[in-house]
Symmetry: C2
Subunit: 296 residues, 2 copies
């Protein structure tokens, strides 16, 4: 049996079942970040993301943008848990014949994002490898009252996204701006019940919220904001790497949140028994396929 | 210009120069772990290590041992800073056609070390890759008074190692036991001035202490404990992956420490101007070459 026959999410579940954690772990594997006890007011957030040549970027792409992305994906994870990024370590595997210019530019891209969000790069590991692989681990802090998880969506919540979706492969996946400012605005001004960032596609990431929160949902086709790079709705639903915030708020909050153009309501949280469906322009609902980006 | 023409350590220095950190960073890039402000009594330690197929292990090797090593190298880093490991995240890149059995056994190896040292595995990232690559990031805690760095060796200190060196490629590099117990014994019972773990070879790792502490040293050839796997002294000096503790203590402490058979005195810290030399059995000193394991 090969891992490709098991699938990415089944593999993760397999590993998670075997893991035991102590009381210092508020939320372990299974959310955008791990949540650890820190001090009276704060949790510490801990996340890692691996970027692999040929999967997350091509070697012909601008190394500055690859470096940006390597840091930005972790910032997006911290943001979607309601925290601020603080410290990061970087592991970098690369072939011996990598041009110095490539690595220098990659590093400049990394530093540009680190500086922008006041992230301390505090260590790393360089290794020889067959192709380029970058792993960034990041620590952040979230005020306890601001912590956002996938697991707290409630029936009746309105589902929002922070921007247009789809077509990220045509550029946005390397140039996206992590929605840290937006996430902080939300936690400071609204009651948000659940949040995730869209990395694997709207359908699949919304499904993570549904599974963890034990609820269902309907998405309104006409409300899903399509990116100018998106060729069709399917790309908005399934392509991934949009790195927009996907979150749910109680109906009362939704009213005032609708006035902020940055945040678009796209659906509603329903009872678990109703699963995940898409309602078309004629008011007909169909079950939404749970495909999206998967490594295996 | 290729990175292989620049070399691993020059590359690291290049990056470090561009990095700025704030007051939360007690020690940034350049030691076994980053040291971060935590609470009144403790520092937080943060380290990452990337293991790459074909460099750190071969795909034909027992995946259980590969998994063990992936966690143990980070435990060794935390130990050598005087801390205890607490939390880890694991990024794992692997080809689609990896057998499930391989990954299951790798994971079992990881968990065996995690359980032994009470490390919480709190998250991870799975990615498709051309070959297997494992990156582990680990957090630990060190009592402030117990923090050990590379940078505090003093002239007159006696240099110790925690075990025999050399020949690790013949098995020990996959089976070593990180010296956490020994490091904790040392910080609780002795005044230790500096410490590092031997990952790149005695000469090169001692040189890290010398550079960071701005001192020199002499190693006594007759005192270097050779592992049963070591073919000759050169392997003890240059092979690396021994994962023994290399540390320095003031002469007074050395006296009582000599009575513990686990710790062997192998040399002495001297003035910086004397560099790093090896004294042979006839009392003749020669400059020690600074070779050892390097990725580039």
């Amino acid at each position: 049996m090969l891992i490709s026959q098991v699938g990415e999410f089944a593999l993760i579940k397999r590993f998670r079942k075997a893991i035991r954690t102590d009381a210092s772990v508020i939320v372990g594997s299974g959310d955008d970040c791990a949540v650890l006890a820190h001090d009276k007011k704060h949790y510490q957030l801990f996340t890692c993301d691996m970027l692999v040549e040929g999967v997350d970027f091509k070697s012909c792409e601008d190394p500055y943008l690859i470096g940006r992305k390597a840091i930005a994906v972790s910032v997006s994870d911290i943001a979607s848990c309601g925290g601020l990024p603080r410290h990061a370590v970087i592991s970098l595997g690369m072939p011996k014949n990598t041009p110095l210019k490539f690595i220098d530019t990659l590093f400049k891209g990394m530093m540009s994002v680190a500086r922008k969000y006041k992230i301390n790069i505090v260590g790393g590991d360089l290794s020889r490898a067959q192709s380029i692989v970058i792993d960034v681990s990041m620590l952040g802090l979230a005020e306890k009252k601001n912590l956002l998880l996938r697991s707290r969506a409630k029936k009746g919540d309105i589902i929002f996204v922070s921007g247009a979706l789809g077509g990220s492969i045509r550029g946005k996946h390397l140039k996206f701006i992590p929605r840290l400012k937006e996430a902080q605005f939300l936690v400071r001004n609204f009651k948000v019940n659940s949040m995730i960032d869209v990395s694997d596609g709207l359908a699949q990431d919304l499904n993570h919220i549904l599974e963890e929160s034990k609820v269902g949902a309907v998405i309104y086709e006409k409300s899903v904001p399509l990116s100018k790079d998106a060729l069709n709705l399917d790309e908005a639903l399934y392509m991934g790497e949009d790195f927009e915030l996907l979150f749910t708020v109680p109906p009362k909050e939704a009213k005032s949140l609708r006035q902020h153009r940055n945040f678009r309501p796209i659906g509603e949280i329903l009872d678990k028994s109703l699963g995940l469906s898409l309602m078309d322009k004629n008011g007909r609902a169909r079950k939404l396929a749970l495909k999206g980006f998967r490594h295996f």
